[in-house]
Amino acid sequence: MTAAATSSLRKDRRATPPFRRVLVANRGEIAVRIIRACRELGIATVAVHSSADTDAMHVRLADESILIGEASAAASYLRGDAVIAAALTTGSEAIHPGYGFLAERASFAKAVEDAGLVFVGPPSGVIAALGDKLAARRGAAAAGVPVVPGTFEAAAIDRPDAVEAIVAEAEKIGFPLLVKAAAGGGGKGMRRVTRSADLPAALAAGSAEARSAFGDGSVYLERVIHPARHVEVQLIGDREGTIVALGERDCSLQRRHQKLVEEAPAPGLTPAERRDLHETAVRAARAAGLENAATAEFLFDLERRFWFLEVNTRLQVEHGVTELVSDVDIVREQLWIAAGFQLSDEVRVAADRAAEPARHAIEVRLSAEDPAREFAPAPGTIGRWEMPSGPGIRIDTAVEAGARVPPEYDPLIAKLLVVDATRDAALDRLARALDETSIDGIQTTLPFHRFIARDQAFREGPMSIDWVDESWPAIAANRRSAALDVATHAAAAAVVASTADREAGMSDESPEGRGSSAWARSGRLRAIERLPR
């Protein structure tokens, strides 16, 4: 056998598992998601966890688990050295980082490679190149991809004499514009500026926030495209350089750059527009030398133009909607690719069909957040936990009744996904599924999703990315106040009923099987939540 032949890609797919043992460097629903894929492939799994997660679902589902530190993420899930040590101790061959935490830290991927382990994701050099949003913008523009108008070099904010030049450049780009962090993500370091007078202060504030969040204070300018939808393309590539698009997702419902609802395909695109978008995304990825799974993000404006934003070199939270539409298990595919296999036939077939999808999937993120208080975190202990089931429903979660949602981590507690033949049918299914969902003990984003699932405007098509920040607060206040009205009367009725029980010598503790004895009357009950009859 020649050297070229031995280094060519392995094609003996599925004869044996891609790895014997994989360490999952994450927590929550995504750790559970990855462990499930490993188990299906016959791969043993190692979980790492903090002291706050000793009883967490990912720890219980894994074959073994290693405690790597205290509750705070910095002392545990962000400790790359501890994760790599745990992988070496347990004889793991590969590390899957999930999303968040270490997933897009090029230095971590490099350390994994240097330790002789496989990083399930793109090579560290590609993560570094694409993680620098400025370098990614330059690379995409050089590959002929339309990028959002703005600057291509870091603003020299430490030199007072340069401020004038930046302001002049900003006026050329046009206001309003965004100050964005080169190392950014999740809206950190981002500032919206409407006039040149405010620019110097926004640059300083954005840069300071970026430095504290990412250790890099580089910022640049980007024009605000408004109104716009957020459309992103799921990419997957092997070591041979074959890169395909598995379809696109619309994630326009966001608040402060955090996604709330995602769907695939993006509604209202023609097959030709889809093909063009997919091809553009593949071109950007190829220019960067991408391998494994990644996502190219674009803004879609009213003139139906796509503008490149960035490439995320990780498995996305919302990968499931693409899985439901394409029939590809992206996590499994990541593991095969990381082990040196070619793209599977399933991926190639799905990519060929990606411009004319036959199904529609929608995901809502159920988070421990208060939708009436600007989605402020609402950690606590879950009481009731009833998830929907039935046709076309998928739940990705790592919590259950009685589980604690710790304040140290991301507030996402479950992803509810639905799939059906058309978007209309998928929305009906989503509304039905959300009616079956019941959670107490903590406030969640359920009220927001219930509203969206039946909102006529959303049914006609996704709103602009600013819709939640601009329009939801007033809707939330109205809906919460109507709910409080019903809750007030229900609370009164329930307390009076239980008092009447006690006075009648009945126990309040086992209320089952009481039939329909009239217990309490409560005035002015109004329709908020109707059980399907």
């Binding site: 993420a73 950690p379 219930r450 809750a487 609370a491 009239a518 309490a520 329709a527």
Partner: protein, 174 residues
């Protein structure tokens, strides 16, 4: 027999503008509250035409105040239910105390658990309503804790990096 009860959101879930209400409730006739599996209560409206699903798990009786958790359409409330006559009595007592200390100190307490990421004021600072007092980091988010009214900082009860729980005293304004 109809009873008049006083119902108001507990401090854990109340938002500005949530007013306590007087509600008439009786244990007779056409509206029923019925158990529907452990902890789930269903209220049938007049004539039996409407059915509402309400979650009503643990309740705590304290000094004649019953705290009930109710989740309606995904909105979670902790409501304090108290006999109307008793509530009126208590309100009078509280009002008397309030007038005595109209310009008295105001405790600013944590509404979310987390970690203090930054303390923006020191003792003696003058703050305006809405001005930032400190930043609490919870679930990767920076949350500004703002002054509910104008005042002077009398005490800062927490320090940078400290872990805090719901209801912990943060700052005292006078």
């Amino acid at each position: 027999m109809t009873r008049l009860v006083h119902v108001g959101p507990s401090t854990a879930t109340a938002l500005p503008g949530d007013e306590p209400r007087l509600v008439g409730a009786s244990d007779a006739d056409d509206t029923v509250v019925e158990a529907f599996g452990p902890g789930r209560w269903v209220v049938h409206g007049p004539g039996g035409t409407d059915t509402w699903a309400l979650n009503r798990p643990a309740r705590i009786d304290r000094d004649g105040v019953t705290t009930v958790e109710v989740v309606v359409d995904g909105w979670r409330f902790e409501l304090e239910v108290e006999d109307a006559a008793r509530a009126a009595l208590r309100r009078r007592a509280t009002r008397a105390r309030d007038t005595g200390t109209a310009s008295g100190p105001l405790d600013v307490r944590a509404i979310i658990p987390g970690r203090v990421a930054a303390v923006r004021v020191t003792v003696g600072d003058t703050v305006e309503a809405g001005g930032s007092l400190l930043v609490v980091e919870a679930m990767k988010m920076q949350n500004e804790i703002r002054a509910p009214r104008d005042g002077i900082v009398e005490r800062v009860a927490v320090a940078d990096g400290q872990t805090i729980d719901n209801g912990d005293l943060l700052v005292v304004l006078r």
